[in-house]
Amino acid sequence: MRNTRPAWFLNPYFQLGVSAIMLSAAEISLKIGATADAGGAAVTAVFNFGAITSFATWIGILLYVLSFMIWLHVLRLMPLTEAYSLTNVVHITVPAAAWFFLNESISTNRALGISFVLCGALLVAAPSAKAEETL
């Protein structure tokens, strides 16, 4: 093959960004679907089977699967250690989307907790990629 460079939209870094945006959209949709209808079950039930009656849940599932397929494509072009580190942007994009689209209020404690998780996840990214390869 003469030209092995992927087209810009197949560039793994771009694809990872798309995957992160899709995952954020998926989580927002699942949150909307999960709260849309209690499905007759008590709201204290541990499993929420009623959510599958909501259209938003299915949009969420679709976006989740798409995001996963893009992730698999990224892994063909990028080492797992690097992909694992970069994919941690979801720890910022998902709460940011929850704040922006769902008007969730993020307290100082919660923001602090999120930053701790992000730093920790970045530190374990390379060793956990190795763990995934060996497990």
Binding site: V43, P95, L102, I114, V117, S128, A131
Partner: protein, 114 residues
């Protein structure tokens, strides 16, 4: 958050990670020359079952709690992968990873606060 909800968050992540590991074992088995269909189907079935448990538990959590509160628990999944390799395969966990584990633990307990 209640202790029950925190426990479910952790269980949720265990199911997610274990499910992915089973699916990966199934995919690895497909490379063997006569394909070991019994092993493949057992792992695929187990993986799908665990991912179903994860999904409906996750929807249950999302019904009662803010997304920005339960999502940080996703940070437990790389940690669980590593602890799994440490416990089952005797893999060494480097010092920086132990520091990461502590940070994720502190972060998750901060978001779980009432």
């Amino acid at each position: 958050m209640t202790y029950l909800a925190i426990g479910i968050c952790v269980l949720c992540q265990i199911c997610l990670v274990a499910g992915h590991i089973l699916l990966k074992h199934a995919m690895n088995a497909t490379h063997a020359a006569p394909r070991p269909w019994a092993v493949i189907s057992r792992n695929v079935a187990g993986g799908i079952a665990l991912l179903n448990v994860w999904f409906f538990l996750w929807l249950g959590l999302l019904r009662n709690w803010d997304l920005s509160r339960v999502f940080p628990f996703e940070g437990l999944s790389p940690l669980l992968l590593m602890l799994g390799a440490w416990m089952f395969l005797g893999e060494r966990v480097p010092p920086r990873a132990w520091l990461g584990i502590v940070l994720i633990g502190v972060g998750v307990s901060l978001v779980a606060q009432p």
